[in-house]
Subunit: 329 residues, 2 copies
Amino acid sequence: MATIKDVAKRAGVALSTASYALNGNQKVSASTIEKVLKAARELNYQKNGFASDLKRTKTNTIALILSDMSGPYFSELIKGVQEVTASHQYDLIACSSLGGDRSTATKFLREKRVDGAIILANNVSTQLIEESAREDFPIIVLDREVQNPFAIHVKVDNRHGAYQATEHLIENGHRTIGYISGPHDSHDNEERFKGFSDALKDHGITFQSRFKISGNFTRDGGYRATKMLIAQQQLPDALFYANDEMAIGGLQAFSEKGISIPDDVSIVGFDDIQLSEYVNPPLTTVKQPKYEAGALAVHTIFQMLAGEQVDQSFDLSTEFVKRSSVRSK
Amino acid sequence: MATIKDVAKRAGVALSTASYALNGNQKVSASTIEKVLKAARELNYQKNGFASDLKRTKTNTIALILSDMSGPYFSELIKGVQEVTASHQYDLIACSSLGGDRSTATKFLREKRVDGAIILANNVSTQLIEESAREDFPIIVLDREVQNPFAIHVKVDNRHGAYQATEHLIENGHRTIGYISGPHDSHDNEERFKGFSDALKDHGITFQSRFKISGNFTRDGGYRATKMLIAQQQLPDALFYANDEMAIGGLQAFSEKGISIPDDVSIVGFDDIQLSEYVNPPLTTVKQPKYEAGALAVHTIFQMLAGEQVDQSFDLSTEFVKRSSVRSK
DNA sequence: CTGTTAGCGCCTTCAG
DNA sequence: CTGAAGGCGCTAACAG
């Protein structure tokens, strides 16, 4: 590989001149720039990005860290992140935190391989985030609170969203309502459960803990949890699935047993993923402002990078989406 | 940020010793290693990844380049890529080629910021790929042929898949069949069209070019193309959509006009994306072996990195998936 | 406008 | 085990 040295030599100029020319610095004459560019072309020169990053201690790239890139991630969120990132002429890379401590995500965080990061990955430890965030390495977390002035929380109001959905169930006459939960260490799940319980409490309904089953936020988990519930012989009137993926798994379990939704059991999900509109019946759920969350996250990173003061946390609200998986009164 | 120098100082050892200790080199005693590690911990030392990459000219990471990360990408493909990459203790990052020459993908390719790349992005120019691929930078392309011994093609048999699907249409009595096409510069689209035409020809059917409309591989494009066809007043018996996204857009256009699928028009798609099973009616389509393609791609990269000889191209076959969007004879 | 020079942080000899 | 020294490729003063 040709280096900048070779280019300078071939163009017959000094190394620094070549560097200036290549980087479009003012103080080089047009003709010299042309000479250098020509030499670079002839040598098929490509700069070594690492060397330049090392020197400038700046990468011009933002990382989006997801718990599982192959998961049904939020395409709207990525779109929001991508557009804002691109409009600032920054690069964006996505990486996964699958594999815990030895994951790519961990490496990027620890080694500060990017200028800022956005995290939506419950398997990245809060400790790691707190240790990594600092003035020149802002981190935005979308799914938890973090104690570090350079780790900002962009949160959606999971609690209120869950409250609304639960109330919808109650208003339509459902009294025994089960909760299919996400991972216990998920902050989002916890908030949703709180909203759910609050609604129940406010309407004088007591929650029966045998109707709380974990489904781990996966379709398969939702399927199994639902199967279990069916096997118990005593189905509640309605089920609150802490996310859509699990609800869709549940739908399948019910359909296999000939249990009709919403005639026999009503269900609601959370997230409003793309599929939810297409399943049968279309899923009543709570929509998250994903695009906005993504855009706001990046926007905040750039503000921090520019040394501006930002709030410690931002709140975004959800929207209830009524479709056909809840029986009307 | 603490550097290795600080660690060495604090541990009271030489810089080189610290380096050895940190990298698990044999020639350092266990007690010294402990001392160094302790100092590193106390200083919250993190090595600078760029410096080390620069020195070693190796990044231990593979890039997956997609035309649009927020698009309905192939989650199975990512899974295949991810699993094999992780099993080799390599890191994986995904980036988008959105933005053409100034995209993140272009930067990674040009500057060789990774050890190898897998490309499924029709907006990355073949020229760039050919210029970038070299012995120490293997590239696998999933959607075209490239003339460079270090750019290997993992292809699925689009042609045969399209042939089969078309034949299915013909066998069920359809004679005038339209083709909703992808981008003209897409190799996949071209191959699918060839399979489609071949099937028609082999059954003595002549294709009417007014029934070929471009839909650009997007849902919206499929929607618009279908609208256009409907507006022409003369619908064919059946429609071959060059991918599922477009077919789903078409489904919506038909439904808005009260045209019933498959009673009025039969349709088939291509890809078998997750949604296809859930739309109404469930889409008959051609399934691509995405997981296998992803896994094979990474596997090949590692072989090349190890200096082994590999074939210039690999072929994977498709599978016809019969669902309910084609009227039976 | 050009050439010289001093690092960025890390890794790896090599002789002691 | 040490300490010095050379470099990876590039950038950015600085002095001419």
